[in-house]
């Protein structure tokens, strides 16, 4: 029961609230659960409250893991297409079939 969406904090008011932005939509966000948050930071917002910060470095790390998977997947598809008949490429990450 935890629908929460990453939003960027674009404004902080003095009363514990701020403004979060997602695709040009601005919504009031209550910041009382993330004291010390700054403008420009990302938070996850649940029911109008920022419940935690989003660590962008960690996000980018996992995204780069995914980028590697995508690259490997693309190579595996191309390799399979170019070799007829061929053994199936190893599905373990980082390995591909050399032609």
């Amino acid at each position: 029961m935890c629908l929460a969406i990453p939003m960027k904090i674009i404004e902080i008011r003095g009363d514990g609230t701020g403004v979060g932005e997602l695709e040009g939509n601005h919504h009031d966000v209550n910041l009382s659960l993330v004291p010390g948050i700054g403008v420009g930071a990302y938070v996850v917002v649940h029911a109008g409250y920022a419940i935690e910060r989003m660590n962008e470095a960690e996000a980018n790390t996992i995204l780069s893991v995914f980028a590697e998977i995508e690259e490997w997947q693309k190579n595996a598809v191309e390799a399979t297409a170019s070799l007829l008949p061929s053994p199936q490429p190893s599905p373990l990450k980082g390995e591909g079939v050399t032609s």
């Binding site: 029961m1 629908l3 969406i5 997602l22 695709e23 040009g24 939509n25 601005h26």
Partner: protein, 336 residues
Amino acid sequence: MSEQTIQLGHGGGGLMSRDLIQSEIVTRFGGGMLKGLPDGATLPMPAGRELVFTTDSFVVQPLEFPGGTIGDLAVHGTVNDLAVCGAVPRWLSLSLILEEGLPLSTLRRVLDSVKRTADDCGVSVVTGDTKVVARGQCDGVYINTSGIGEKMDEFDLSAGRVSPGDHILVSGSVGDHGMAVLAAREGIRITHGVVSDTGPVHRLVQASRPFARDVKFMRDPTRGGLASVLNEVVEDQAAGILLNEAAIPFSSGAKGVAEMLGVDLLQVASEGRMIMIVAASASEAVLSAWRSLPEGRDAARIGVVTDKKGRVILETLTGGHRLVDVPRGELLPRIC
């Protein structure tokens, strides 16, 4: 000086009513058949042609939302219903129910929208009515428009004609209107986010006329969105539908609000879009014709008719499949 408002007397049929009609209705719609304010409009009956008649009521809150007003909806809604029946929209009636206390400036903006939109759509407001109810008995303004159009003979539309292999087309991004209204109600302020898609589709229908023989079915996805329309098509039919999620156009602004509030855009209303089910051989030509019009620039093929009786299935971004349900009831924000 305080803002002028609508009073019960404006609906009483006496001097106040007549002044309101003169200053707000006749000034905007008084040329043509409304001249002299007859009780009814006498319309020329086109020889050997059929007429299409439709009606719709509009109760949206708030009255003004990003991208339009209740006045725009009132014209587009009825024009579009006529258009997707294969008719050229011609004449509208305009019935207003006003709440005591409505600011006159709001009424003027709504009526300006009606006029501007009717002119843009090439339809005339030829008859109408105005009533006023006591404060609290309606939400500002309720509008009913009924419309008459001339049927284009080339179109023979019915869900029964749909058959496996046919393509499903949509004229643009879906769910923008519903999200714009929900955002406005939830206090989400838009700078360059979601905007209502309220708009006419009759020019898209007219652009499809050369291919009318291949067009099986048309509808505008209003309340209940794509999910509702497509489930209606396959109900009690031998056919089913398979949609490709990656091919369905969504605006980024609508997606943002939908994610925030936990809403499924397939169940959300558009007010300026149409879906068409067409024989595969004609679908590229129709898309090409649509994309040459501003209201069709994001048109896309989103799916195909299958033989999976009575089911609407979505192939998701991750390659899985799920049922697209008939929406249950109210569109409510969720946290779960």
